[in-house]
Structures are given as C-alpha cells and as structure tokens.
C-alpha cells in the first residue's frame, strides 16, 4: 500500500481544521504528493463512473476507459455480462486493446500473442504446450478485472476495492435522485455519439468542486450567456438563486431547480411533449413523479469525479430553449492535468429532430466548444496554477468556502425539500463544496475503506444561524 509522507499527513490534519472554519488550503488543487495519495486512496476504492450501457449494446462491444490513471476496457462479454478488464497482458504487461472502441470476440496482445476472450479469460497463446507444458493454467491467467461493477439506469460504475460497499450503499441518497431523473422514463436513455475529450492544465477537483454546488459563479463567469439570451433567465439575476442544494451523503450533491408546488407545470426538465408522455407515474414513488414534474433542471455529482447537468438552453439564439443533458467525467492525469469527458444523453425513441437539437444544445453549451464551459476552463486552470505556486505554499494560502456557514447567507436549511438529504434553499451557499472536500479528506486519511458518511456528517461544520462554533 502507498504510504503517505509525514508532511502529507500533517497537511491533512491542517486541512480538517481549515475546513471546519470554512476555508481550504489551495495546495489541495495542485500537489504531486497529494495526487499520488488520491490515486491510491480514492480512485482504487471509490465507485467510479465508466460509461453508459448504451455505448456497448451488443456482445463484444467495448470502449476504453480510465479508473484514476489506469486503463480499463469496458466490454460486454459473449455471455452478455459487462466487465471492466484491466488492459494489461498477464504475460509481460503490454496493452491488449488499442482501439478506443469497437467490437471484438478476442483481445490479442501484440507482443507474444497471448489472446483473451471478451470475458477476460485467457483463450490461448502461441506454442502453449511446447512453451509451458501443463504449467500454465489458462483458467487462472485471465485479464484482471475490476472486482465490483454495477449499473444503475444504464450508468456503469466500478470499484477496484474488494472491500467496497455495494453501489447502492455507496450512492446513499444520490440513489433516490438518480431514480428521480433516470428511473421514470419508460423507454430509457441513451448516449448520442462518442464522448468528447479535452486535456486541461487543471486539477480534476476544480471542476468536481464546481459541479458540487458552485451556483455563485454562474451570474458572473457566465454573464455572457445571460447577456446573449442563451440561458433562461426571465426573472433576472435573483432567479438564478432559486433552487435547492442537497447534500446526499458519501460526498454526493445535487442542485435542483423547481417550479413551486402550486404551479401545475408539468416541467419535466423542459422536455417537449413527445418526451413528457414517456414519464411514468408508477416506476418510482409518487413524490418522485410529482418531483420530476416540477423540476426545471439540475446539476449533480457522484463522488469523486462524475458530474451531470441538465437545463434548457439555447444553442441558436433565434430558436426555442432546448433541454440539454451533459454527462461529465473529470479524469485525473497529474496534479495539474486532467481530461474532461463529455457525453450527451438523450431520451430513447424521440424524433430525430429533437435528438439532434438536444445534442447540439448540449455540446454547444457544456462541452469544450460550449458557450458556457469555454469560460469555466479558464479559472479551473488558473486555480491550478495558483495552487502550485511557492508563495501559496509558503503562506499556507487558504481559499474561501464560508458562504452559508452559521446562517451568514440568505440561504437556509429547509425541512420541506421534497426528497431525502440535507437541503438548503436557496442555492446561494457553499455547503455542497465543503461536503465534497470533507468526503475527500475522509478518503485520504482512511487506511481502510472509509465508513459511510451521512448527509449530516457531510454537512458538519455548517453550524446554525447565530452560532460561531463548528458542528
């Protein structure tokens, strides 16, 4: 097991003290020792999103994916089962899958020709009998595979830790919210096209932190989009705060914008009639059905590096608003480098016209070419730059996450949120981001698999209005 340097353990102690006071050391966003520990303690343990089942519908279909920095092949085997195979030959360790996607009955290592079935099992090797006699047991020499792999509503997650809890336990109250969004559409959901990938000189936590409840940046960083009329903002800037922040436990978070319960709607995320009729009142609870009917849009994260976002936007200013759904992975590459992945997800069985418009709107807003995300890349890179500076380390520079602590913001904890989790209304607070970093800290310090973190524990330190102490 990777042993952290004493300096790193001291840093993590300081990190906790800072977080309880509402700040975090900026060093967390660019430090190579911390990054090595993240790879070991977070990415070999957490349930990591790998892809959507609709990307590999047929037996033999595969796509290359990463868990942390490590290469895996997400493949539907000839037995129909989906596995995440470690793309490393058991003989010498060369890669056995060299295309980004495709369909294969076999994966062949180019070095000596060891060949594996799409289930991972060793199928054969040249001169096997002459070379090894009976010494090589093919049944024990298959490709390594992630010990845990589970899907929910087509989203495939894997964990490399044999001790990991079930995906359900890991998701906590995020499960209810995934059911809310993707568990009520009868025809199901599918990815359109292939994911877009872009390399950024940024730490993966910069966007993960952003997706965990940074509504505050919207009105300024993305002001170009409200000025150009491509973001729905009829009631002015104040309306941008009109929504819930919900801490879901285990570091997960949801931002949810809703119309008031007395308004009949239906909104169903702004989808057109042809999609709305596919939502079923019986697939989940009545609360979830009514909830989705009143939901305008959402931004969510599943710890550590999976994000998703859905809102009606305009790609073309003269056209109507079109619902965009962007699915994101923030792949770590180094302490100061990441790859941003973007998929567009669309309801199945819709008209080709809507499918294309929704795709264009997704990629035209929240992708590397998107009118929103172009500008996000700028601070994500410069935070990473700042975090790597000598001066920031010398003075132990802190960055500020106090918004909403001890009731300092107009946002308040509410008990009438229609769903589970610790909820705040409005979104003008930073508890979601503090919660992300709290779960990060817990993973980083735990030598064993970290215990469950309840929504209350995730929200620790928020305090109550009028109090000064941390909770």
């Amino acid at each position: 097991m990777y042993q952290p340097q004493p300096d790193v353990l001291t840093f993590l102690d300081e990190f906790e003290g800072a977080l309880n006071g509402g700040t975090i050391p900026i060093r967390t966003f660019n430090d190579s020792e911390l990054h090595e520990l993240e790879l070991d303690r977070i990415f070999t343990r957490a349930w990591v999103f790998l892809g959507h089942e609709s990307e590999i519908p047929a037996r033999g279909d595969y796509v290359q994916r990463r868990i942390g920095r490590d290469p895996f092949v997400l493949v539907r085997g000839e037995d129909g089962e989906i596995r995440a195979l470690f793309d490393t030959c058991r003989h010498r360790g060369a890669m056995v899958c060299r295309a980004e996607r495709g369909n294969a009955a076999l994966f062949r290592c180019p070095y000596h020709g060891w060949t594996y079935k799409n289930t991972g099992q060793l199928a054969g090797a040249p001169l096997l009998k002459d070379a090894y006699g009976s010494d090589l047991d093919k049944s024990k020499m298959g490709l390594h595979a992630a010990p845990h792999l589970e899907s929910i509503h087509g989203f495939v997650f894997a964990s490399l830790d044999p001790d990991a809890p079930s995906l359900d336990d890991y998701l906590g109250d995020a499960r209810w919210h995934l059911d809310l969004i993707w568990g009520q559409y009868e025809p199901g959901w599918e990815v359109v096209g292939e994911p877009q990938r872009t390399v950024l000189a940024a730490n993966w936590k910069a966007p993960a932190d952003n997706f965990s409840g940074d509504d505050y940046h919207t009105v300024y960083l993305h002001r170009s989009t409200t000025e150009t009329g491509i973001m729905e903002n009829p009631a002015g800037d104040a309306a941008l705060w009109d929504g819930y922040h919900v801490q879901l436990g285990n570091g997960h978070h949801f931002i949810r914008n809703m119309i008031p319960p007395e308004e009949p709607g239906p909104r169903f995320l702004g989808y057109p009639e042809e999609v709305q009729k596919g939502f079923s009142p019986t697939m989940q609870s009545e609360e979830q059905y009514e909830g989705l009917k009143h939901t305008v849009g959402f931004v969510g994260t599943v710890f550590p590096n999976f994000g998703f976002l859905c809102f009606p936007f305009k790609h073309d200013r003269s056209a109507d608003f079109v619902t965009a759904m962007s699915i994101r992975v923030f792949e770590p590459r180094a302490s100061g480098e990441m790859v941003a992945w973007t998929w567009s997800l669309c309801p199945k069985g819709v008209s080709e016209e809507f499918r294309q418009e929704s795709y264009r709107t997704t990629m035209g807003t929240f992708s590397a070419a998107g009118t929103f995300e172009q500008d996000d890349s700028d601070p994500w890179m410069s935070i990473t730059r700042s975090a790597g500076t000598t001066y920031a380390r010398k003075v132990g520079m802190q960055v500020d996450y106090r918004m909403g602590m001890h009731g300092n913001a107009s946002s308040r904890r509410v008990d009438d949120y229609p769903g589970p989790g610790v909820a705040y209304y409005s979104v003008l607070e930073e508890g979601g981001q503090r919660g992300f970093h709290r779960r990060w800290l817990q993973f980083m310090r735990s030598e064993d698999y970290p215990p469950k973190m309840t929504p209350e524990e995730q929200n620790a330190g928020a305090g109550v209005p009028g109090s000064n102490g941390g909770g």
Binding site: V192, R197, S224, H315, D316, R360, M363, A369, D375, S377
Partner: protein
C-alpha cells in the same frame, strides 16, 4: 473521399492547380484565415453563406479496417448561421473570459485541392489546416491539426462558405476549449 463521415455524395471533378478558379478559392481561404487570425469576426461572418453547415466531428481511434473513423453522430461543432452568430455575439460581450484577452493564433492553410461538383455551381475545396494557438503568457503552444472539406458558393459575385467539415486529427483535443473557429 476524405472520410467515411464526410463523403460528399456528389461526383467531383478536380480543377487543376493554377487555374483561375483554383486561385480564387485559395485566395478566399487565405483571406478567411487572415480575418480569423486578426479576430475580425464580423468580417468572417460576411464570408459565410446564410445556409452554412459548419461541423467538426469527433475523431475516434479505431482499428485500421474501420477507416478514418470520424464520428457519424458526435460533433465538437455542429453549427448553422444563427448559432455561429450567437457565438460571435457572445464573444463580443465583456464576459467571454476564455477569449479576452484573445488567443494569438495563426492558421496555416495548405494542400489545396479544388473540385467542381457535377450538377452544382458550388466548388469543393479540401485543404489542410495547422492552427497554432497560445494565450496569456503560456509557453506551451497548442496546436489543432486537421483537414477541411469546404463548399464555396458564389453570391453576387463574391464567394461564400456554405459548408465546412473540419476533420481534426485529435481524439483528445490538445487545447482547453474551442473558443476559436476552425
């Protein structure tokens, strides 16, 4: 044919290098590159036809037998005239941070192949693009490399770009955003 995703359906006839039509197309693309390099986006807009179809499909690493493997459904850019206009208007606000200060760019356009299209007055021009980009005081330059498959149409005596397919050589983009036009 350029690629599986792009293949123009029409039959094309090569126009020899050095003919007046060839130079007219080359001049258009070089002037266009100059307008973009100088950030004269309004001038660039004037060079676009109202019916422009502007796309950059996602490149996927596939086995050799699969051809050049550009996505048939996935695009970095999937634009029409109105969406390009929206992008340009947004860039001209005071809040388009990723391009203010703007990138310093130079577009090197080369390997021109000009074709007439059977049954159409439009001309097809294929060219290679090497785009150099740097920002702020970054010293790691970014490159975007690809082929462009364009159709040019004459309107009132001037050529306009009516179709552009940008065939990038990157399966992972080596630039943090596409706040620039290709």
């Amino acid at each position: 044919m350029s690629s599986d995703a792009t293949a123009t359906e029409q039959a094309l006839t090569r126009i020899p290098s050095g003919s007046p039509e060839y130079w007219r197309c080359v001049d258009f693309l070089i002037d266009e590159a100059e307008a973009l390099d100088q950030n004269r986006l309004e001038d660039w807009l004037e060079m676009l036809h109202r019916e422009i179809d502007y796309r950059a499909p996602i490149r996927v690493t596939r086995e050799r037998a699969r051809g050049l493997s550009f996505s048939k459904q996935g695009y970095h850019f999937f634009e029409n005239h109105e969406s390009l206009l929206t992008r340009i208007d947004r860039l001209s606000t005071d809040y388009a941070w990723a391009e203010d200060p703007p990138s310093r760019t130079k577009r090197f356009v080369s390997n021109f192949r000009v074709y007439s299209i059977v049954g159409s007055d439009d001309l097809t021009v294929r060219s290679n693009l090497l785009l150099y980009r740097e920002r702020l005081d970054e010293t790691h330059p970014q490159f975007l490399v690809g082929e462009r498959d364009d159709d040019l149409r004459e309107v009132d005596g001037e050529l306009q770009l009516v179709r552009r397919l940008i065939l990038l050589d990157h399966s992972i983009l080596m630039t943090p955003n596409l706040g620039i036009f290709l």
